[in-house]
C-alpha cells in the first residue's frame, strides 16, 4: 500500500467516524423528541404522535365525545376533543421542531 492510498483510507475512516457520530447525535435527538411527546390528559398518559393525533382528529369529526386508549391500554373518555387535540398537536410540534433544528445543524456540518 503506497502513501497516497494510505492517506485516502485514513480520510475514508475519518468520514466513517464522523458519519457515525452524526447519526448517533440524530438518533439521540429523536429519542429526546419521543420522550417529549408524552402528555398527561385527564389523568391518563398519551403519546402525542401522528397516530394519536389522526385518531383524535378523525373521531372528533363525527362524535362529540368518544373513547381512546392510553399508553397502558386503558380506555379514556374524551369530552373536549378540541382541547385534547390542541394539546397533542402543540406537544408534537414542540418536540419535532427541536428535532428539526438539530437535524438541520447536522446537515450543515455535512456540507
Amino acid at each position: 500500500m503506497d502513501s497516497k492510498e494510505l492517506k485516502r483510507l485514513n480520510e475514508l475512516k475519518l468520514q466513517s467516524g464522523l458519519s457515525y457520530d452524526r447519526a448517533l447525535a440524530k438518533r439521540n435527538a429523536l429519542e429526546k423528541a419521543h420522550s417529549r411527546m408524552i402528555v398527561v390528559y385527564n389523568e391518563h398518559i398519551f403519546r402525542a404522535d401522528a397516530h394519536t393525533i389522526n385518531l383524535v382528529s378523525t373521531l372528533r369529526d363525527n362524535h362529540d365525545t368518544f373513547f381512546v386508549l392510553d399508553t397502558n391500554q386503558n380506555p379514556v373518555e374524551i369530552k373536549d376533543a378540541t382541547k385534547f387535540l390542541e394539546i397533542l398537536i402543540d406537544r408534537n410540534q414542540e418536540a419535532l421542531s427541536a428535532y428539526h433544528q438539530l437535524a438541520k445543524s447536522l446537515e450543515k456540518r455535512d456540507d
Binding site: 448517533l24 420522550s35 417529549r36 408524552i38
Partner: protein
C-alpha cells in the same frame, strides 16, 4: 404535602455521593420544581449543609452491596412508601439528572404505581438489552412514581417480601445477580402482586450513559461525556449516569 421527590443518598468510603446529590437537587429545583426529601445518614448530611428547601429523613443504610468492587448503599428503596411525606411521590436515583420537566407530568395520573421498563443507551451500543435472560420482564427502578393508595402500599409490601427472600426469587425467575438489585426486586414484586398479568408502566426509555462513559462536564442544560474515544454531548434531555466518577466532575 401533595407532590414531591424522594431521593436516597449515602456516602461511602470510595464515592462522594453527596456531590452527585447536590447537582441532582439543583436540577430538580430548576426543572421539576417539586419539594424534595432526602433519605440519608448523619455522616452524609454533614456535607449537605448548603442545600436550601430540602427536607431530610435519617436512617442507617443497609450495607453489604457492592458495585464494581466498591461499596454501594442502595438497598433501602423498598421503604419509600413509609418514608415519603407526599401523596404522590417521584423516587429517583440521584444520578438521574432531570435536565427537563418531563417527569413532572407523571405526577398527575390516576395510576397507583408507574415504573419504566426500558433504558436508552446514549452511547449507541444498545448495551441495556442484555437483561432478557430472566423469565420475567425487568424494570428500571431508577425512576418510580407512586401515590399513597392501598394498591401502592401492597406493591411495596411485596417488594419487602421479595427482598427478604431474594436468592429464592432470583433462582425461580432465572435472575443471576449476586447483589441485591432494586430493579429485580421491583420487577418480581410487580409480577407477583399483579397476578402475572402485566402492570402499568411509564412510556419512556430512560436515557442512560453506560459505566464506561466518563462525564466531562455538566451545565444547567446538559452534559458532555467521553466514551469509545469520542466526545459527545446532549442538551435538554434527562440522563441517567452510571459512571460514579461523576462525583468528581
Amino acid at each position: 404535602m401533595q407532590k414531591g421527590v424522594l431521593l436516597y443518598c449515602f456516602d461511602t468510603s470510595e464515592t462522594k455521593y453527596h456531590a452527585i446529590l447536590i447537582r441532582c437537587v439543583q436540577l430538580i429545583k430548576s426543572n421539576l420544581q417539586l419539594p424534595i426529601t432526602v433519605v440519608t445518614d448523619k455522616e452524609t448530611h454533614k456535607h449537605l449543609g448548603s442545600l436550601d428547601s430540602v427536607d431530610y429523613k435519617f436512617i442507617e443504610p443497609e450495607k453489604g452491596n457492592t458495585k464494581n468492587g466498591k461499596q454501594w448503599h442502595n438497598a433501602d428503596r423498598h421503604m419509600s412508601y413509609d418514608l415519603s411525606p407526599y401523596e404522590t411521590t417521584l423516587v429517583m436515583d440521584i444520578d438521574y439528572f432531570p435536565f427537563t420537566d418531563n417527569l413532572r407530568r407523571f405526577m398527575d395520573t390516576q395510576y397507583d404505581f408507574l415504573v419504566a421498563k426500558d433504558a436508552y443507551d446514549l452511547s449507541g451500543r444498545n448495551s441495556f438489552n442484555l437483561r432478557r435472560y430472566s423469565m420475567i420482564d425487568m424494570v428500571w427502578a431508577t425512576v418510580l412514581v407512586f401515590r399513597k393508595t392501598e394498591k401502592a402500599k401492597k406493591i411495596f409490601e411485596m417488594v419487602k417480601y421479595v427482598k427478604a427472600h431474594y436468592p429464592y426469587f432470583n433462582e425461580i425467575y432465572r435472575i443471576y445477580s449476586k447483589n441485591f438489585r432494586n430493579d429485580y426486586a421491583f420487577s418480581i414484586a410487580l409480577e407477583q402482586i399483579n397476578g402475572f398479568m402485566g402492570y402499568a408502566t411509564l412510556p419512556i426509555q430512560l436515557p442512560t450513559l453506560p459505566p464506561d462513559c466518563k462525564v466531562l462536564s455538566i451545565s444547567d442544560q446538559g452534559l458532555a461525556w467521553q466514551g469509545d474515544g469520542k466526545i459527545m454531548h446532549t442538551v435538554g434531555q434527562d440522563v441517567h449516569v452510571l459512571n460514579k466518577e461523576l462525583a468528581d466532575v
